[in-house]
Amino acid sequence: MGPKGLDVPVRHSLTLDRFEGKTKQIAVMLTDDGESFNLPKSILPPTAKPGDILTLSLELDTEQTRDVADETRRVQGKLKERDPGGDLKL
């Protein structure tokens, strides 16, 4: 866990401005400050349409972060055992 109080979810209010792309799968989102960025339409609520206001909530998932890091270390360790060492001739 990070310092107390810093791991709370961060919420952003966004307006779905429009859909773009060949198959209209790119959702262009507008912040209240007028900045825009793209999101895949597939991760939006299915009924979202241009003009809708959505809340984007971001939260650190420390447990999953730790699990992935631990599992990566474990697999790296197992793979390292296979290294024959020294120079290689293929």
Partner: protein
């Protein structure tokens, strides 16, 4: 040998496909080719490096004269690299390498692992983890592939007659994964190429201070970090002294690669640059003595007219200061002679 002026012209003439085709045609003119060199067509002595067009990412295919293959990185998308390899007729891969744990370099590697089951998998043991990278490692484990990594001393991999040297790894940078990139030097006779993933200033400085011999005097430099301002610096260029730089990046990418600072540095050092966002896949062939850039799509456009050749020759005259950089001092031939290293 293609003169430096012509190579520069070749790089500059990207906006003029006809002129670019001429440069290539000059590069492959059999009339000036070495009697038994590869430049009348690939021979059993030809080694090939292809900087694959995978969009905004890296993927580099190396083929030894003996048919051994290595793939350094696999681009960002899930199956583009594997598809490209199939299209190129690659049937086996001996070695795959992940320069570092960023998805624009390993995004397509799981598919390559599943399809080709390479003999060796080279990666650092940096702790930068993502679910996608973990899945790749699990694929390597499941397929029973031999994993290898950098060691405290330079480690050599003999890919047939092509030698790859894995650089010692700088101390792990836990804040910037780019600085955990694997460094590789490809050597084939007098031809060499430097591949250092997305290495930023700190890691390059570490190599320059501790192992300058590994980076010194390389024929071709793959720009680190897609031509980012943090992937190239003056000291690096002075040590590497490349005759040509190549950059792998996507057209109109969001990051502004290549950065103007990098382009200025290359210009200042009179190093021509070839870019995958402008050329698509860039193919370089060498017989260990000479080397040339091949671009199949443009090469198919046919022979240049005499007018075209005259235009190239006339333009080359204007580039006279750069002629000091030609390898052997000759001013016209078919391919470039590598400097003695």
């Amino acid at each position: 040998m293609m003169t430096f002026q012509r190579l520069r012209l070749l790089a500059r003439s990207l906006c003029s496909p006809a002129l670019f085709a001429i440069g290539l045609a000059l590069a492959s003119s059999p009339a000036a080719a070495p009697a038994q060199g590869p430049f009348a067509g690939p021979s059993s002595r030809t080694m090939t490096v292809e900087v694959l067009d995978v969009g905004q990412g890296d993927s580099i295919l190396i083929r030894s004269p003996e048919g051994k293959t290595a793939l350094i990185d696999a681009g960002p998308s899930k199956d583009a690299a594997a598809r490209l390899l199939k299209r190129k007729g690659v049937s086996t891969i001996d070695l795959v390498a992940i320069s570092h744990h960023h998805s624009d370099h390993y995004g397509g590697m799981e598919q390559v692992i599943r399809v080709y089951k390479p003999r060796y998998f080279l990666a650092s043991d940096s702790g930068h983890a993502t679910k996608l990278y973990l899945r790749l490692l699990q694929a390597v484990e499941e397929e029973g592939i031999t994993a290898v990594g950098p060691t405290s001393k330079p480690r050599k991999i003999q890919l047939g007659s092509v030698e790859l040297t894995i650089f010692p790894q700088a101390p792990e940078d836990r804040r910037e994964e780019n600085n955990n990139s694997i460094g590789l030097r490809l050597q084939y006779g007098n031809f060499s190429m430097l591949l250092t993933g997305d290495s930023e200033t700190n890691e390059r400085k570490w190599w320059v201070q501790g192992h300058p011999e590994l980076v010194r005097d390389c024929t071709i430099l793959k720009l680190a970090h897609h031509g980012s301002r943090n992937g190239t610096d003056q000291r690096w260029l002075q040590l590497v002294k490349p005759e040509l730089a190549v950059a792998s990046l996507g057209k109109d990418n969001d990051y502004g690669h290549p950065h103007s600072e990098t382009l200025s540095l290359l210009h200042k050092n009179r190093i021509p640059l070839l870019r995958t966002d402008q050329l698509g896949t860039i193919t370089i062939e060498s017989d260990g003595s000479d080397w040339k850039v091949v671009h199949p799509n443009l090469a198919r456009r046919g022979k240049p007219t005499q007018d075209d050749v005259d235009r190239v020759a006339a333009s080359s005259v204007d580039e006279s200061p750069a002629s000091a950089r030609t390898a052997s001092g000759k001013t016209s031939s078919s391919s470039r002679k590598t400097r003695r290293r």
